[in-house]
Subunit: 440 residues, 2 copies
């Protein structure tokens, strides 16, 4: 078990600190920015996730004796750097898009203002958390928008690294999923958990009927019976025979779903089980959920596709030094200028311009202002929504965005943001970002 | 921080135990099997990874008071189940493909023999670890095979969940990568770590020359200078000016690599830096590495593509009940029979048939024998290599496959297995598995 996140870090961050301490530049006041050059996979918008748990991890980012000993024994950095790391507490400030916010190419998702050394050592941690969680939330939001209000449960833990699974459950919940199969996500983040039985439970018993009886005896009539172990038609008949027409739900995990779901609904109704719900869980993604929009499905369970970002398992975010103060007091914008991977230097503030119907029209990024400064052009507050909020000020985190409360807040924010996106945002086909990013 | 892996579990596993305790079937002796119905993404072979760290996690799988309290407070299971979970220690046996082994569709990668209850609660943990690590190793092995012996470093931590990153570094190392950027992977698994500086280090300094001087002062002439922050040609000239012709290496992270690498090599040679190596790190995957096979590259760094399984971020493994003993002593094969997701019931043993040149020709799966039984047809030991080894016997793990020693052993095993695959295995194009799977 890992006790500190401090070594969830690429070696070059510590060697840069080591060299910068020696060259006298480690203390320079810097502005780092996390952003994505493009949206994943031809998407129309992305959803920021990971912010809350990242801020908690930054608070826990400390180099204790086991980390310092290992760095010393392996010659990663020298003594002055070890001394500096031993005292490490992030004392700078971080602004960013609120968790659950929509984002677009170039959106300054997170801005870190601190000394070079304090900010550079967080690079990998910030990107790991934002890239993975945002990838999941961005995919999940599309599934939610095509589900037409039917609940979707996240059940992909088995198709993700065991610890990623917890983060995935949280990101999907923020994006509008209703529950998760993952118990640790329930314990850590308060996300509702669900699940009753797998095919192995049916196979374990001497007959399917024995299995159904055992499950109903344990959990009552309101349980969900998995009816496709042997033959779906027989399974449905048996389920209603065992539980009666008051059976809570049946789950279908295979077959040509639109056809099968229709047939199961008819069969349930003909048996008087008109209130029995149908849950489907067979390798679903946003496209197959969309294809079921006309079918009498009551709930979905989604696994692999949501925890792997549905074709875009990393959101492509980068973390760049965009300005520093040299040895003076003025910000000096800096940017890489060689081919392909250009970036825009300078401090940035972002607002979303809305039209008279409060529909988003532009992502406006003001370059050169600090996040606390007044953007140029006097934004009309009714027509320009500020996107960056303070997450950490002088080392102190805003508690409202952390823990279970922060997770619920992010979920609510995502729901409200979806209201302001143009309807074209919800088209499933690949295309351009639904609003343009404009630099001012 | 999570203290126990016990809740890295889908809720339905515990509800199944709960119902099976009540129905009197929880104690039935069972055989579960982890396998993949197909290889990821049109690949010719896959590489098993995760086994060693999974066996360690199974050893740590305990329900302590915090887990039991949470399960009780949330009504997940009832008191008899809580009592059973409180005493949980896996006491069964696990056989499986050695970590680093090649696998094919249907290969019985892991077989768990235990009571139903003991085996079913491990379902999610087993699949999470095997699916992710195998996905990374299977992608990494292809990159290694096209790298023509040049070292490849894994540097994708920032494009994976922060904890996945450690597992990814380990899986890539098993698949033949030479090092990782991830410090925790160095500490936990003993994998060599690497890295010197990012563009931010150059941008922090007043000039590129100041940055290079600072780095050389800190790490000596043998360091790797990143030369593409502003202009590659100027960068190379400056690097040799600062470090002299004895400079260790330059790193290129952008541009049309085959052309750029050629030009940089010529420029270095013309400056007398004939021993200075060239490392490239710009969004590489197996295809772009292949395209650089004729270029004077000395080393690669790979990020996103390896930690996300290069298009196949989950290996598609499933965990199925394949046999149980009912209330008797005889194994009863069981299998789901409904559409699409059929599986083959019964205990299985696997061997790989080799021809006279010791090239693999068939994956033979004997159905009905236990892993310890003698496969039918008296395998000729020189022509049939047994693939399943005991990993845990009656709850006791074989230490040789765990920890750093196990990781090195897996890496060596992978290297030897690659020798026996037909050369067609190493073609990059999508295609069929390079050898067929045969059930006997």
């Amino acid at each position: 078990m890992i006790s500190s996140p401090a070594l969830l870090t690429d070696r070059y961050e510590l060697t840069m600190v080591d060299a910068a301490i020696q060259s006298g530049t480690a203390h320079r006041e810097c502005m780092f920015e996390a952003f994505a050059r493009r949206l994943p996979n031809g998407r129309r918008y992305g959803i920021v996730a990971g912010t809350g748990r990242l801020i908690e991890l930054i608070g826990a980012f400390r180099f204790e004796d086991p980390e310092l000993d290992w760095l010393r024994d392996n010659g990663v950095v020298r003594q002055p750097t070890l001394d500096w790391l031993a005292d490490y507490r992030f004392s700078g400030s971080i602004w960013g898009y609120q968790e659950g916010e929509a984002y677009f190419p170039g959106s300054p998702l997170m801005t870190v203002e601190s000394s070079f050394a304090e900010g550079v050592v967080l690079e990998t941690l910030i990107l790991s958390v934002l890239n993975y969680d945002t990838s999941v939330a961005s995919a999940a939001a599309r599934m939610v928008s095509v589900s037409l209000g039917r609940p979707i449960a996240e059940m992909g833990s088995r198709r993700a690294n065991e610890k990623s699974a917890i983060a995935a459950a949280r990101a999907a919940y923020i994006a509008g999923f209703s529950a998760t199969s993952n118990l640790e996500a329930g314990r850590t983040w308060g996300i509702p958990t669900m699940g009753t039985a797998a095919h192995s439970f049916t196979l374990l018993h001497d007959t399917e009927e024995d299995a159904f009886r055992a499950q109903v005896a344990a959990f009552g009539l309101d349980t969900t019976l998995l009816i496709d172990t042997y033959d779906i038609r027989n399974g449905v008949e048996l389920a209603v025979k065992v539980a009666g027409p008051g059976l809570g739900a049946v789950r279908i995990d295979s077959g040509d779903l639109p056809t099968v779901v229709e047939a199961v609904r008819e069969q349930l109704d003909s048996l008087g089980a008109v209130g029995t719900k149908i849950t489907v869980t067979s390798d679903l993604d946003e496209y197959t959920i969309g294809a079921l929009s006309g079918a009498p499905v009551d709930a979905y369970g989604v696994g692999t596709s949501v925890v792997t970002g549905s074709g875009a398992p990393a959101a492509g975010m980068v973390y760049k030094l965009v300005a520093h103060k040299g040895d003076g007091e003025e910000w000096i914008p800096v940017a890489k200028t060689s081919a392909q991977k250009m970036s825009v230097g300078g401090r940035k503030t972002a607002v979303r311009r809305l039209d008279s119907t409060r529909t988003a029209r532009e992502e406006i990024i003001y370059v050169g202002d600090g996040p606390e400064g007044e953007p140029e052009g006097s934004p009309d507050s009714s027509r320009e929504r500020r996107l960056m909020i303070p997450l950490i000020r002088d080392g102190v985190a805003d508690e409202r965005y952390l823990g279970r409360e922060g997770t619920v807040r992010a979920r609510q924010h995502r729901a409200s943001v979806m209201q302001e996106l143009p309807v074209e945002a919800f088209r499933l086909g690949h295309g351009e970002p639904v609003i343009p990013t404009v630099y001012r």
